[in-house]
């Protein structure tokens, strides 16, 4: 599973290597759903990801921009230290939030008025 949409929540299960090749592939696959649904929460799950370059930053900021205008929030979760280093360096944590687990994200969503 590469992505999932349910009840206003869009989750990307990112690939093992998030480079230009895999980022573009993921974008193409998910575009129809991403463009048509109302996304209140966007989650990038890095559980399986062992490598990332700046193409990953491009993917996240590009998606972020599209949902932010409509009031959506963006999270990253299960980030390894190597990937955390890139995310920090890119300055992306000024616009998105990092959480250790999905449960932490749900807690934050519920605070913001989310219910299943």
């Amino acid at each position: 599973m590469d992505y999932q949409y349910k009840n206003g929540v869009f989750i990307y299960y990112l690939p093992k290597e998030l480079d230009h090749y895999y980022a573009d592939k993921l974008k193409r696959k998910s575009e129809a759903t991403f463009a048509s649904e109302q996304i209140n929460y966007l989650i990038f799950d890095f559980s399986n990801t062992r490598f990332m370059d700046s193409s990953g930053i491009g993917l996240i900021t590009g998606r972020f921009r599209r949902i932010h205008d409509k009031g959506g929030q963006t999270f990253v979760v299960n980030v390894t230290p190597a990937i955390d280093k890139l995310l920090k360096l890119s300055g992306i944590y000024t616009i998105i939030k990092k959480k250790d687990t999905k449960e932490d994200i749900i807690k934050e969503m519920v605070k913001g008025g989310y219910y299943e």
């Binding site: 480079d19 230009h20 700046s54 491009g58 230290p81 360096l89």
Partner: protein
């Protein structure tokens, strides 16, 4: 004792080869006994340079990219070369967040990452002839990139 080693690899400019390029360099520099973090740094830098060649140098068209790497003790040198369109203003291209393709979700962080993860970076480019990215890194030297 001569502890220098060198390799040259050339491949087609297709996105699929981005992972091949960083793997082959990572394997080649294994003799320097790098930490996982150092391997990751080098892989990211190589991936950035090769991706630039594919997307910008060749505009996703057919072309050749070559990588020369040299290891001397724990010194690593990597040279990534394309014969693509070249960069008209290298200084501008190296500015963080600068991209000629914001609509394609390019972050404009490629050169910033190369600079951050390697010790030294040089870019030589001639419009119409191509681009050479040269990078140096000493393995085993603790370095704080940022913060």
């Amino acid at each position: 004792m001569n502890n220098t080693n060198e390799m040259i690899v050339e491949f087609k400019s297709v996105a699929m080869n981005e992972s091949f390029a960083r793997m082959v360099v990572a394997a080649f520099i294994a003799s320097t006994n790098p930490t996982l973090e150092e391997v990751s740094d080098v892989k990211t830098a190589v991936s950035e340079a090769v991706t630039n060649s594919i997307i910008h140098g060749y505009d996703s068209q057919d072309g050749r990219i070559s990588i020369l790497s040299r290891v001397e003790g724990r010194q690593v040198y990597i040279e990534i070369r394309d014969e693509g369109c070249g960069i008209p203003d290298v200084k501008k291209a190296m500015e963080p967040m600068y991209t000629t393709r914001p609509k394609e979700d390019r972050s404009g962080m490629g050169f910033s990452f190369m600079e951050a993860f390697m010790d030294r970076l040089e870019v030589e480019s001639t419009v119409g002839l191509g681009t050479v990215v040269k990078m140096w890194k000493e393995i085993g030297v603790v370095k704080h990139h940022f913060e």
